[in-house]
Amino acid sequence: MHLRSRRILIAASVFALMSSATAYADPVEGFELVVNGEMTLVTEAPASANLEGALDTVYSGLLFRESETREMEMDDFSNPGMVFVDQGLDLWNKVDGTDGKSCASCHDDVESLKETRAAMPKMNPTGDDLWSMENYINNCRTTKMGAEAWKWSSDQMTSVTAAISVAGRGEVVNPKVDGAAAEWWEKGKELYYTRFGQLELSCANCHEQNYGNMIRADHLSQGQTNGFPAYRLKNAKLNSIHNRFKGCVRDTRAETFGEGSAEFRALELYVASRGAGLSVEGVGVRN
């Protein structure tokens, strides 16, 4: 990546934006995400009934990124997040804890969990709590493996969630929002529309009302989670969904919520449901 050419490109974009704001406001058109030249992923879909008319079409965040960033995600050799996926697969097969087990001891190949990512977050086996993938992994570690729980956004955790997400690449996002999950979904929706912090910004203020617009150099997306855990160029590592939520709420000059909190799990369900119909991108590449 040549920084200088990139800057010129951005400057040119800003100029274009000033002369025709509406044309630039849209996500990129005519782009098809084909990974490794063989797997076509859905990056644009009609909004599901969950959105109750708030949006007509849902777009992957990739459509709001520049062409160089989009190209990185089109090939696993150029996707910087794939290094961490390899580390995640090593951890998948590594025995840890007092029971002498690895993830593979019970789940065999990671491909056995290919439907997992698209269904997250999901009510737990006893049906009394909403769990993110991180909760399921730590439940296995502490109750089946005799291993210690990983921190929510630790390198190990994001690597393994990434490996499971890549196994589910191409699956269509479709979390269950009825039954016991319904009250979590409602809570998540309430959070989505709450204006937090000194800047009094809700998720919707930026990602529903203003996607496609610019806040200084930031091109606002719809805030979809189908590309998570995502490799961000900004910090050169994998980022969990809750870590991203935490940063967004912090940037409203608010007291943010914790990773793994009930609030963020509820919000994760609601936001995931807003992206129903998009493909799981495994590790997305983002700014």
């Binding site: 937090f196 912090g197 000194q198 709420v249 943010t256």
Partner: protein
């Protein structure tokens, strides 16, 4: 030496005499979203206002609004309308109201309230993500609001 010091103290005391009590955020009187009275009684400085408008750690108006007169402020946003010509379209009182608390003029607007200290949900300590330790001042000071208003009034059509 002694008399000079005395003079200096006398001058300082004179300067400190409030000829005008600063209007605190919860005292601001809005009428149809506009605020006729200055927050400070001190005329705004347009050059200082331009700095507040273009500086990230201050007002950062250009985060959401384009201002063609500030070409050095890169990456101007477009979440709100361009501010070119606002000095012709709005009065000083209207601009003071909008900059202080735009929600009083435009119900439900996305624009943050720059001179307000109450009514927040999970107010934090600036961008730390943590709870505040004490009272949180408004995003801009009374004089910064006056300076921004003075600057916006220079943006004529």
């Amino acid at each position: 030496m002694k008399s000079q010091l005395k003079l200096a103290i006398a001058l300082a005391a004179f300067a400190a005499q409030p000829s005008f009590a600063e209007v605190t955020p919860n005292m601001v009187a809005f009428a149809d979203g506009a605020v006729a009275q200055s927050h400070t009684g001190v005329a705004g400085n347009a050059a200082d206002g331009a700095k507040v408008a273009s500086t990230r750690s201050m007002g950062n108006c250009v985060a959401c609004h384009a201002i063609a007169a500030l070409p050095d402020a890169k990456f101007q946003g477009n979440v709100g309308p361009a501010l070119d010509g606002v000095g012709s379209r709005w009065s000083e009182a209207e601009l003071r109201g909008i900059v202080s608390n735009a929600k009083m003029m435009f119900d439900g607007t996305v624009m943050p309230s720059f001179y307000k200290t109450e009514g927040y949900t999970r107010l934090g300590d600036a961008y730390t993500g943590k709870a505040p330790k004490g009272d949180v001042p408004p995003i801009l000071s009374a004089q910064q609001i006056e300076d921004v208003v003075a600057y916006l009034l220079t943006l004529k059509e």
